[in-house]
């Protein structure tokens, strides 16, 4: 209670007092807290990966091919067992976290950038520009995401940046539609009129007056879409179109264990579990942030 009062006192002086506020609400909201901790742990793990991997994730020891995890008799010093080439699965999962997170951050980041700018200008100016982009977005929406991404990857060939491109090429549409709608409703508000009356140019009104008012919904959708993008990357890697071996990506690890499912289940299971945990954490965080940030759902 005392800390709360302390924060209320200083928050008027702080530039980011509302972030402090969001932080405390997050702590009070248990599932959000769990999600935040899971995501933070994965990020931390990816950051310190080079120092904590017990074995080289890229080079295997063929004598340790398909060795079981530590609690099954016959296991070696490989914590979660070895894969079909004798590489340590635990090390590969730790190293793979970095790739999954980069894919998530970058594809969502680029999508947000493109979608927000286009959406803000389309929602503000309307007219032909809006029509063209909206129709294009609707065409993109008519394709199923996975099939679309498979097509793009098949055309461009596998690779990290091609993967980012395939994911953002359709990923920006969600942000475009969200921001366009929000900006359209903000534009009718009086503060926009007042900004015009005080001599601000349109570009400045969009970027400096309207966008700060819609950022909260970007944070929520961005978090939720990040989980989706990570799943998409894993699906593409599983199909052999994403990150190529020997780079440790969770999707391709699940795929490489597929033929050995019956006698070495751990090869596919542990990367799959890692993926499940990370995406679950992200989704819990995203939903929690929505509850906290969306003023329509706000109780206090």
């Amino acid at each position: 209670m005392k800390t709360r009062i302390y924060f209320i006192k200083i928050r008027a002086r702080l530039f980011w007092w509302n972030l402090v506020d969001v932080f405390w609400k997050m702590v009070a909201h248990r599932s959000t807290l769990i999600g935040a901790i899971v995501v933070a742990l994965f990020i931390f793990m990816a950051l310190i990966a080079p120092w904590i991997v017990p074995h080289n994730p890229l080079e295997g020891d063929l004598f340790k091919r398909l060795v079981p995890p530590f609690w099954i008799p016959g296991s070696t010093n490989y914590l979660l067992g070895g894969d079909e080439l004798g590489r340590d699965i635990f090390s590969r999962i730790v190293a793979g976290a970095e790739i999954s997170l980069w894919i998530g951050f970058l594809s969502v980041g680029v999508s947000i950038l493109v979608g927000t700018l286009l959406g803000a200008f389309a929602g503000f100016y309307r007219g032909l520009f809006d029509e063209l982009i909206s129709r294009f977005a609707e065409i993109l929406l008519a394709f199923p995401f996975l099939i679309f991404a498979i097509g793009v990857m098949a055309m461009m060939g596998p690779g990290f940046w091609n993967l980012i491109f395939a994911l953002t090429f359709k990923g920006w549409v969600e942000f475009f539609r969200l921001i366009r709608g929000e900006v359209m409703s903000e534009t009718t508000k009086e503060y926009v009129e007042a900004a015009r009356a005080s001599g601000l140019r349109n570009r400045a009104i969009i970027l400096r007056e309207i966008l700060p008012n819609v950022v909260h919904s970007l944070i929520v959708l961005g978090t939720l879409r990040m989980g989706y993008m990570i799943i998409m990357e894993a699906s593409l890697s599983f199909l052999g179109l994403g990150i190529q071996p020997p780079m440790p990506a969770w999707g391709s690890m699940v795929n490489s264990g597929r033929p050995y499912m019956l006698n070495a289940w751990w090869i596919s299971t542990f990367p799959g579990l890692a993926l499940l945990t990370l995406v679950l954490g992200i989704n819990l965080l995203g939903e929690g942030l929505r509850d906290i940030l969306d003023p329509r759902l706000r109780i206090d």
């Binding site: 008027a12 002086r13 530039f15 503060y191 009356a197 001599g199 601000l200 008012n213």
Partner: protein, 336 residues
């Protein structure tokens, strides 16, 4: 009226082109505002008061269009200016105070920052880059002259403890304080004309009086001209030097406050005055004006008030001109 004119509108017509036809929101309107004058613009909802104000700043939203007329502001025609020039006038020379302070202030920025921004738009102070970040660690703005300038303006409009109010958000302000903050924004560049669009309508009566007193003080001290839009003749009577009564996009009666209120000549002005509830005389009933505002797409021929006027005659089918009755009193009616 002062000798020098601040604003001279002649034959301004603003149309909103819709599928059903053109809405004549402002119809051949002429209006003069002297330097340091408080002009009240009175009329019912939808009679074109706000559109007149927006026309002055050329802020008419999309289907609307200023078709004809001139708006001379300090000798220059605002309608002939290009985009950049008109933007330099908005907020700098002519600023606006809106009706609902809660929605007019941007909810996500601190009030002090918003006042500071209105100064920096027109180069009155340097915009601060990186200042926001540094202010996390120490009270950065306190040392800056622009911070002191904002505090000064906040003091002038009567915001108490501006030091801490600077850092508060609009929702932490009361309605009256929000309106003061808006007036501070409008005043920040020391404009020569303030357009006030029903600035007291959203406030309760005691706060209304304070805001009116503040606007009067500003007018006295800086001789800022103001156009004060209201639908409340009682407020206009308290506040203004001259009153212009609008009906269906036209001025129907202009004059100084005393002559308009003591001897109203247009039947519409009389009707408005009779609609004010009086506390002194319980037996007197309020007499509302019968009927509704005419459709602005399809105005009645001749005098627009004719269908609601109890003294309407045949000659009212011709549009009456604004007649000069001397003593700065003009009226648009055949009967006076």
């Amino acid at each position: 009226m002062g000798e020098e004119l601040c604003l001279n509108i002649t034959n301004l017509t603003t149309l909103f082109k819709t599928r059903k036809g053109a809405i004549r929101a402002v119809n051949d309107l002429s209006l003069k505002v002297g330097k340091g004058e408080l002009l009240g613009l009175v009329g019912e909802s939808g009679c074109g008061k706000s559109v007149t104000l927006l026309s002055i700043l050329r802020l008419i939203p999309y289907p609307g269009e200023i078709v004809s007329g001139t708006i001379l502001f300090e000798g220059e025609d605002l309608l002939k200016k290009n985009k950049q020039e008109i933007r330099k006038i908005r907020g700098m020379k002519i600023s606006m105070v809106f009706q609902d302070p809660m929605t007019t202030l941007n909810p996500v920025f601190k009030v002090g920052e918003q006042i500071r921004e209105s100064l920096s738009i027109h180069g009155m102070i340097q915009p601060t880059h990186g200042g926001k970040f540094l202010s996390l660690f120490y009270d950065h703005y306190r040392r800056k002259p622009e911070y002191r300038r904002v505090i000064e303006i906040m003091e002038q409009v009567g915001i108490s403890t501006p030091d801490s109010r600077y850092y508060e958000y609009p929702h932490q302000f009361s309605g009256g304080m929000q309106q003061r903050a808006l007036i501070a924004i409008a005043l920040s560049c020391n404009p020569s004309l303030i357009l006030a669009d029903e600035p007291t309508t959203a406030l309760d009566v005691t706060i209304q009086a304070q805001i009116l007193e503040l606007l009067k003080k500003i007018n006295r001290e800086r001789s800022t001209s103001m156009i004060f839009v209201t639908h409340n003749l009682a407020v206009a009577n308290e506040f203004c030097h001259r009153i212009a009564v609008m009906y269906a996009g036209r001025i129907v009666e202009v004059g100084n406050v005393d002559s308009i209120v003591r001897k109203p000549l247009h039947p519409y002005t009389k009707g408005l005055l009779n609609s004010i509830p009086r506390m002194t005389d319980k037996s007197q009933r309020i007499e509302p004006i019968p009927g509704n505002v005419p459709d602005l797409i399809d105005l009645p021929e001749g005098c627009a008030f004719k269908p609601r006027c109890q003294w309407a005659q045949d000659r009212c089918n011709e549009l009456p001109l604004l007649k000069d009755l001397g003593e700065d009193h003009f009226v648009r009616c055949h009967l006076s």
